[in-house]
């Protein structure tokens, strides 16, 4: 398996300009020519909320979905199942997905009963122990909950997230509308996953299957984006901008002075992601050329780091305004996508607060941006919250009644960006 990196930027800066923007596209490809050796083992961990609020249709659907997932696991995969409430119970410990272990796991899932509170830190602690049994495998977790974490558990959850970081990846799913987006996003953000809503318990099985399929496609784990910047430079931000917006700026781990690693988790063959870097450098004189950043992809296998690919971000100062004022189209596109997500986030917040005028303006802007960039998925979600009069100009009317699930779906899914179209 091999990685390829490509940088899109306008390297020309006007005199005195300090900010350098670049989009880096990283593509994993399996062309059979060797390169990075793939990790063979895959460990899939299901962490299911079994607190009292899950009682009824939700726990029933969740049990059914888990059973289905266990059945679907390929023979060579590994799995475990954890049920969480006040504390965590390992329903089925880490084992290879043989017919026998599947059968015993399914029997154990059948005995799950809902009851108790929501102490997510204990669930993660149990999951960490299971994942740590197979440190070389691709480790994917899936956390399903329907409610809020208990207030008293918050500090413990923060500490546990720090402990889990880098040990496994976790997708978070909230079923119903009684959970808190920010809370699950905190978990999925730290554990390199996404947060999404399953509005109706009936949809759990489908969603789980999607997560499992994606997890099984991963081939290389523990991939980090390493960014070198020159002395005196500052990374303003580093974001994953495609397929989904993820601000990585705060996740930087300093490797040495001037060099930081941003974890990107596991990669599958033929996967492609885009990153947006903004770096502030010391301004140079007209005609000066310097390297504003050197971005490389680092893969750690058996504690040995190897560099998969590298790309350079340049800065060239010029007095030719025709060169320096041009905004590179990839940078422009993803700047717009970030603005789109931000407008939705703030617009929904304003709507929540009852500031209809502000909400109308922001969501109208979001409709316009989604229309301009061809982000159909987001445009469709926006139409569940507003009535669109003119998409091109962004004139909208707030819907008088909006299902809470729809607003939550828009909020969680608006980070999905549109890929830039071919010129």
């Amino acid at each position: 398996m091999n990685f390829k990196a490509e940088v899109f930027q306008n390297a020309y800066l006007s005199q005195g300009t300090r900010e350098v923007h670049a989009i880096m596209t990283i593509t994993a490809a399996d062309d059979g020519s060797g390169g990075i050796s793939t990790s063979g083992d895959k460990l899939f961990g299901i962490i299911c909320d079994t607190s009292g609020s899950m009682e009824g249709a939700k726990i029933h659907a969740a049990k059914q979905a888990m059973t289905r997932i266990v059945e679907l696991l390929p023979q060579d995969a590994y799995f475990f199942v954890i049920a969480g409430s006040d504390h965590a119970v390992t329903v089925s410990p880490c084992a290879r997905a043989t017919a026998e272990s599947k059968q015993s796991a399914i029997s154990a899932i059948r005995t799950i009963r809902a009851g108790g509170g929501t102490y997510i830190s204990t669930w993660l602690s149990q999951a960490l122990a299971q994942f740590d049994r197979m440190p070389g495998a691709i480790r994917q977790g899936l956390l399903l909950t329907d409610g809020q974490n208990e207030q008293v558990d918050e500090p413990r959850l923060d500490a546990m997230l720090n402990a889990c970081e880098g040990h496994f990846q976790c997708e978070c799913r909230g079923v119903g509308a009684d959970w808190v987006i920010a809370e699950l996003q905190k978990i999925s953000g730290k554990l390199l996953g996404s947060t999404d809503i399953i509005p109706d318990a009936a949809g759990i099985e489908n969603d789980f299957r999607g997560i499992l399929e994606r997890a099984l496609k991963k081939d290389v784990t523990d991939v980090a984006l390493r960014l070198w910047t020159p002395v005196g430079a500052r990374v303003l931000f580093c974001k994953q901008v495609s397929p989904q917006l993820v601000d990585l700026t705060q996740r930087a781990h300093a490797v040495k002075p001037q060099t930081s690693d941003y974890p990107t988790g596991a990669w599958g063959r033929s996967e492609s992601r885009d990153y947006h870097f903004a770096i502030e450098v010391k301004p140079g004189g007209v005609g000066d050329e310097m390297l504003a950043g050197r971005a490389s992809l680092i893969i750690t296998q058996n504690r040995v780091e190897s560099k998969a690919t590298e790309a350079r971000i340049l800065a060239i100062w010029t007095d030719d305004e025709a060169k320096s004022t041009r905004i590179e189209r990839h940078v422009a596109h993803y700047t717009g996508q970030a603005e789109l997500a931000e407008s939705i986030h703030q617009g929904l917040e304003a709507r929540e607060r009852g500031e209809d005028e502000v909400a109308t303006r922001l969501l109208g802007k979001a409709v316009r941006l989604a229309h301009e960039s061809g982000n159909e998925a987001t445009a469709k979600l926006l139409r569940t919250v507003v009535d669109v009069e003119n998409a091109r100009e962004g004139t909208v009317r707030l819907k008088s009644s909006v299902a809470r699930e729809d607003a939550m779906a828009l909020e969680t899914r608006s980070t999905k960006t549109a890929r830039i179209s071919r010129p």
């Binding site: 070198w228 020159p230 002395v231 005196g232 450098v281 000066d288 310097m290 390297l291 504003a292 050197r294």
Partner: protein, 197 residues
């Protein structure tokens, strides 16, 4: 271990393209190629792409066998003559020298270069034409190149004679010249000989 690279700002850098400290672009390493070994026979620098033989003379670098092609002649010496007017050479009865005379140096590119005065009627077109000074014979002297690249001066029976560095020359005798030699002739003409490697 390759020697440490230093960027234009003076930082030691681990990277060959841009400084690993400050990001300044480093000069392309191609612009300072390592000096190639020279052929022991002909002295032409060895071209590593050309294989085991010297491209110029055929010397075999592997066996050390001598090449069959004569080494090329060393770069020829270029001689030039700089003509000037020196009023201090004027004798009684000479006409006044022209003021502000200036002429570009004449390259002595032929095997035989004539010093003299142009005459269309007699079809004399000297390489070093000194038409302004009428005490110079139409065919005055020759500057001849030797096969080894040297240059000799021969007075070819001029009416008023030729001096080299102030001494009268015997007519029809070759005198080797060197860089900086001064030839004076006519009323007030001075020729400075220059050699350029």
């Amino acid at each position: 271990m390759s020697p440490a690279l230093v960027c234009p700002q003076g930082h030691q850098t681990d990277e060959p393209d841009f400084c690993s400290v400050c990001g300044t672009k480093l000069a392309a390493p191609d612009s300072v190629p390592a000096p190639a070994a020279a052929c022991p026979d002909c002295g032409v620098p060895r071209d590593p792409a050309a294989g085991a033989f010297c491209e110029a003379c055929g010397h075999n670098y592997v066996t050390g066998e001598q090449g069959h092609i004569k080494p090329p002649a060393p770069a020829p010496i270029v001689w030039t003559a700089e003509v000037s007017v020196d009023p201090s050479l004027r004798e009684d009865g000479s006409p006044e020298p022209p003021a502000g005379f200036a002429a570009p140096p004449v390259e002595l590119s032929k095997d035989s270069n004539l010093i003299g005065r142009r005459s269309d009627r007699r079809a004399i077109f000297p390489e070093v034409a000194l038409d302004a000074d009428d005490a110079i014979s139409h065919r005055h002297a020759l500057l001849n190149r030797l096969p080894d690249g040297g240059l000799v001066l021969r007075d070819i029976g001029s009416s008023n004679g030729t001096r080299l560095n102030g001494a009268d020359l015997k007519p029809l005798v070759d005198t080797p010249l060197k860089d900086g030699d001064q030839i004076t002739l006519g009323h007030w003409t001075r020729i400075t000989i220059r050699s350029h490697q």
